[in-house]
Symmetry: C2
Subunit: 312 residues, 2 copies
């Protein structure tokens, strides 16, 4: 479930646009008003506000906000203003441009539905005049390229049918190669990049039942190699995106120096889908509420914006 | 241009269905009538006839035709009755089930537009409850798998923009590895499976201008290896599908014992799109008309059906 809270009745787009305009005018910006409006409108409502604002003031709202806000707060508002599909296309490009944050590419390709990934790829092409496949391939090499290009390319079967016999065979096959630490075996790549998600979950469950540990537990290498790590992330995203995101939040806030990029990404991308589920798991595992953790690790308007997306 | 000729005015679907019903009733089938109708209706008209036939006679027309016709003629009519997207999904499954005819998979993934390939993949999933990616991956291994899965998976950029500088760099890169016969180099795979088709054509043109021979000419190996052959086919399909199909027709009919599967596939899949262009190239290169060649190499109703699709 989402954490996003939209007031009822919701003000009209004209009212919202007028209040945002006022908040951005004169000396200083009224960030409180910006947050009170934007953090409480869904994607359709935000789009209506942007269109109305443009019509009324002949000015792009996102550009205006970029010039008014700053730091992590600006970044978070910027990401939030996109619709989910365009946002993921932007996040993919961003992950490819600043070094290579392959976690983001794996999240995009392994968490949503087949049709959602297709929509993100179409948005990526419309925006950047290139395919995500060619950009991922250009920025990577070797086994990591094979895995990442395979994950972003594939058009997985989206049905719910599971072939139990096949799950048994392929769980054994994965166990055989993983126990030899032969992670980049071509069969591992084949299974992970082509099987449907329900089929992969059946394989992972079978693996755990038969061999006594989650497949990801066996995917550790002594030299912290990037490929094994990418493989593990892909499997965790497919097995349970809630658990994956919860762990990501904990890691982002537990380490000295919060990882704001990751924190923002999880809150902003999940607030209107399943952040409530992620938050519940977080609270069980971290022994504190997600709000408490965010309040401690962040500050100012950035903190207030994230807490507002959490429904506060 | 197409070779398909539809009469004007075209009879109503009811008239056609009634005549087909009569042609299939009693002792023996009236194949001449079947050909005179079906070989002169486009995909939409064929669908209307099938629906009308089913409504009128509570019987599936394709199934009825399968039971009435036989041999290569039956196969050709069966393939022709599909709409282009469902036909390619069927041809892919067929290519994967009888050994592995990788030419068909390459044609499907390299000739149509990005959105056409997507439609074929969706039809494949709807029909077979699996993705084409997983079936291709299961039936292949090693470098051939990497190439074929890459080709069927990728969602290429469909715009017309070409990056000339990049074409120069990547033509050189391809030349460097191909001149060492390092065909399965990962850069060859990257370029071929991720770049847009206009970009690939620019690379091939640059290659020819700079190195004096078509890239495919340099892709020959002494041991007739499958991978080099698949690579060559993919490049030829992307460079010019007309030239590719023309050569396919010549090879199918030149060898002792005509390759009817291939002959049928080319005629049936191209009759309502560009068979006229293919036919013109054929006539220049083979020094005879395509009709003459087909008349010589085939016989009976099969021959008459192919000739009818050629507009006779």
């Amino acid at each position: 479930m989402a954490t996003l809270k939209v007031p009822s009745p919701v003000p009209s787009p004209v009212e919202d646009a007028e209040r945002l305009r006022k908040a951005c005018q004169g000396w200083g910006t009224d960030e409180k008003t910006v947050i009170s409006i934007l953090a409480h409108r869904d994607a359709t409502q935000r789009l209506q506000i942007m269109n109305t604002y443009e019509e009324l003031y002949k000015e792009n709202l996102i550009k205006r906000l970029e010039s008014e806000l700053s730091g992590d707060f600006e970044k978070a508002v910027y990401r939030w203003m996109f619709n989910p599909v365009d946002r993921e296309a932007f996040l993919a490009k961003y992950a490819l441009s600043k070094g290579l944050d392959f976690r983001v590419l794996i999240e995009i390709s392994c968490i949503g539905s087949t049709s959602h990934l297709l929509a993100v790829k179409q948005a990526y092409q419309a925006c950047y005049k290139r395919s995500i496949e060619e950009d991922v391939a250009s920025k990577t090499s070797g086994d990591l390229r094979k895995l990442l290009v395979g994950l972003v390319s594939t058009y997985r079967y989206d049905g719910h049918e599971v072939d139990t016999g096949l799950a048994v065979t392929e769980a054994k096959l994965l166990h055989d190669v993983i126990s030899k630490k032969d992670f980049n075996n071509e069969e591992v790549l084949r299974i992970l990049t082509t099987r449907s998600k329900p089929q992969l979950r059946a394989i992972f469950n079978r693996y755990k039942d038969e061999y006594g540990a989650a497949i990801t537990k066996n995917l550790t290498s002594d030299d912290g190699d990037e490929f094994a790590s990418a493989l593990r992330i892909a499997m965790r995203c497919i097995a349970s995106s809630h658990n994956y995101f919860e762990k990501l939040l904990r890691t982002a806030m537990d380490k000295p120096g919060t990882d704001e990029d990751t924190l923002t990404r999880v809150i902003v991308t999940r607030a209107d889908t399943d952040l409530k589920d992620i938050k519940e798991i977080y609270e069980k595992r971290a022994n504190k509420s997600l709000e408490q953790a965010i309040s401690k690790e962040t500050s100012g308007h950035y903190k207030n914006f994230l807490l507002a997306l959490l429904g506060n």
